[in-house]
């Protein structure tokens, strides 16, 4: 008999966005993974089918929403529908990527339907592989990387007799464990106390925009409230553009070395870079909040069970201009460590508490920037494929729920990629250029002279 489960906090985050923005498009995630090699597509199809059996999250479906808009999830035995093959080899790679980008905009509309589609692809320049399009409530990017590696291990096992991949943790068991943990009353009370204490101590947060204080001023005028501390979010035009910047291996190494020498995590250094820029363009504002995504994947089972385990929490710090760079970095690290310890909490409850306390108007926010740092390279780590050129690409779903969402990842050659997703309704490529330029200036000034104050850095960059 089918077992029905409520959504986890991470799944609810995506579900709430779908409801708020009234389109499933905001929850789409797509990637193509391919190799410059001939592929036995008959065998590959069987491996994909086997992967769907192994990786339970690919078979998740959702019930019809109830009167409150809530859905339940269940796991089917099979993923219905064929796994077709599309031949794009006659195109240029750019044309093929453009076509796949169109596929990534597709929505999964309906209840009790599969939320995952796989297409095998013949790409230009001799690349062959597959394109996968899923709903983010089923999987996050880490989960997709694990799935791609597992699938390629299955293929190389059957094709080249390499070792069979290790068993993956059972998605349903891990889901049940997560839900049980979320219902632990003692833990819930401790987590709630932490988040409430923060508001007790610091009061209402203050919005800071990439474009400066004029954005908050506009919202203040719109709501007729000169003291409003939250700004309006874009609900209608969700179109998003992506601008990528590449940081060379040598400067990347400098950032990594600085983190290692000072026992800092890269996430916290990046948060400091963004918040210093926000402070600079908002007249030295000291109270800054950035939404930071974390992936709740710490145990072996959490790593291999798939599912959507990425969730965002507001990282709020008050850093005066007189504080030196390294102290500010530790201030952020200290806050992030506390957040990690209380990250079983549902962030929707933090927002709810703020709305209750401060009468925050509907559809307003305290944050303009969102960060994801991915320490894991998006690469097939199969020894049989290591010398074969690969073409992998993530496709944006085309509908951003966030004004600016930065994903930082490491590249195969030791560099870093800064991928800025921005809503075109209010931002232009030039805004991203400025943000990246100043972020880098702040970070490299700071790591060169960690005793320099934040105020001095803001003045010099």
């Amino acid at each position: 008999m089918k077992e029905y489960y409520p959504l986890t906090a991470a799944q609810k985050m995506h579900h709430n966005w779908i409801r708020k923005y009234k389109t499933q498009q905001v929850s789409g995630v797509s990637v193509v993974a391919s190799l410059k090699a001939a592929i036995d597509f008959g065998l590959f199809k069987k491996c994909i089918q086997l992967e769907i059996e192994r990786y339970g999250c690919m078979r998740v479906r959702f019930t019809k929403p109830d009167e409150k808009g809530e859905v339940q999830q269940y796991i089917t035995k099979k993923l219905s529908g064929d796994i077709p093959i599309k031949d794009l080899s006659g195109m240029s790679m750019a044309e093929a990527d453009n076509l796949m980008q169109q596929w990534a905009y597709k929505t999964f509309d309906g209840d009790d339907i599969p939320m995952c589609e796989v297409v095998m692809v013949k790409l230009p320049e001799g690349y062959n592989g597959f394109f996968i399009h899923m709903d983010h409530r089923l999987i996050d990017s880490c989960g997709l990387v694990v799935m791609i590696n597992d699938l390629m291990q299955l293929y190389t096992h059957y094709r080249f007799q390499s070792e069979y991949p290790e068993d993956l943790a059972d998605f349903e068991e891990v889901l049940a464990k997560d839900l049980k943990k979320a219902n632990n009353e003692k833990r819930f009370a401790k987590d709630k106390k932490f988040w409430d204490d923060q508001l007790d101590a610091l009061g209402e947060p203050l919005y800071s925009d990439i474009q400066g204080p004029s954005v908050l001023e506009e919202s203040r005028k719109l709501h007729g409230n000169k003291k409003l501390r939250a700004a309006d979010i874009e609900l209608n035009n969700l179109f998003v553009e992506v601008k990528d910047y590449y940081l060379e291996p040598e400067p990347t190494k400098n950032l990594i070395t600085f983190c290692m020498n000072h026992q800092l995590s890269m996430t916290n250094l990046l948060l400091l870079g963004i918040r210093t820029y926000l402070s600079k363009v908002n007249n030295g504002q000291e109270d800054i909040t950035i939404q930071n995504f974390i992936s709740r994947r710490s145990t072996h089972d959490e790593w291999t069970s798939g599912g959507s385990r990425t969730i965002m929490f507001p990282c709020r710090t008050i850093i005066p201009a007189e504080m030196d760079f390294i102290t500010a970095a530790y201030e952020i690290q200290n806050m992030q460590n506390k957040i990690y310890m209380h990250s079983n909490y549902d962030p929707a409850l933090i927002e709810e508490e703020m709305r209750k306390r401060y009468n925050t108007p509907e559809n307003t926010t305290y944050e303009s920037c969102y960060l994801t740092y991915q320490p894991m390279p998006v690469k097939m780590e199969n020894p049989h494929l290591v010398d074969i050129p690969q073409h992998s690409k993530w496709f944006a779903n085309g509908a951003a729920t966030k004004k600016m969402y930065l994903t930082v990842s490491h590249t195969e050659n030791g560099g870093m990629n800064f991928s800025y997703h921005y809503q075109t309704a209010h931002l232009e490529e030039h805004d991203m250029e400025l943000l990246y330029y100043y972020m880098m200036r702040v970070l490299f000034k700071g790591i060169a002279e960690p005793d320099m104050t934040i105020g001095e850095i803001m003045a010099q960059v």
């Binding site: 401790k190 974390i294 709740r296 710490s298 072996h300 690290q333 992030q336 460590n337 990690y340």
Partner: protein
């Protein structure tokens, strides 16, 4: 199962070793590969399993398995 083995069984869920392979002088980050998030979530597991309350500041001073076990015993005695 002894408390030490129960403790090491939890540690093993967060790294690639079996509980028997985990030695007292191993460091969480450098030897066992714990991330910041992993370490804080591990502390949460300890709190739930052993019914203790950890102060974040104390917990962040912990470097090795032996130090974590010592802190755990101290908290249980105080409870």
């Amino acid at each position: 199962m002894t408390q030490e083995m129960q403790f090491k069984t939890i540690v093993a869920q967060f790294c690639d070793l079996s509980p028997e392979e985990i030695e007292d002088d191993m460091r969480f980050r450098e030897d066992l590969g714990f991330s910041s998030l992993g370490f804080m979530q591990f502390l949460g597991e300890l709190e739930d399993t052993f019914d203790v309350e950890l102060e974040e500041e104390d917990a962040l001073q912990v470097v090795t398995i032996a130090e974590a076990l010592e802190l755990l015993e101290k908290l249980q005695q105080e409870a």
